[in-house]
Amino acid sequence: MKGDNYMYIKFDAKSINESVARMTVAAFMMHMNPTLDEIQDVKTAVSEAVTNAIIHGYPETDLVNSKEGECSEKNEIEMICAQEDETLKITIIDKGVGIENVEEARKPFFTSKPDEERSGMGFAFMETFMDVLDVESRVGKGTKVTMIKYIERKDEQ
């Protein structure tokens, strides 16, 4: 039950990988003995961050995605999962366009793409479902989203 764990994966910024990222994180956290709610919380937050990287970080890929289901450029997303005791830390990084005003972007209902039926709830969900949310971004360089969830140990066997 003791011992720290670490995982690093890198995948194409394609929408099919949204579910791949969710399932991978769920598998990684399994031995922390999480509740179903905790798994759902983390899956939702990861889905939000990865989707944002795909549609906002690499907007040109998203266009190509919807046209041919293929992406020609090498746009990649990195995901790091680290477990230390009861702490699960997930970092999602893209090397896309970046965010000009992070404070504004994090506000509930803020979206730069209202015309594409986006609701602006992504960051709000990451904030609600995780215990810590940190967003670092530089225009033209990319975005790094770090999230922490405390999974309380359940020892009552």
């Binding site: 949204e18 579910s19 759902q40 039926e117």
Partner: protein
Amino acid sequence: MDNRILPYQVSGQVLHYIMPKEVDHHVAQSLCKELDMLVDAHQIRELILDFKETEFMDSSGIGVVIGRSKTLGFRSGKVNVMHLGKRIEAIFKASGLYKVVGLKEE
């Protein structure tokens, strides 16, 4: 891709649509296209989105619901939802979706 056989039923101007197992950005595009196509083809006035099979939904799903309530609004129809699990209900509440859709009890 969604390979269920006909996840919907049309009766008169009512379309009852069973939402997919996971509603994320990946399925949203084709889902919206199919819904809009059906609404158009059958002159639908009431769209019922049934979440009985849905196990996962993120903010992309909110976009799908808001978008459809707009399309239905244009034809003076409306969207109703049913069988929201505890999880999806929380997402509906947090995003204020109940302001644009009705809840259908059985």
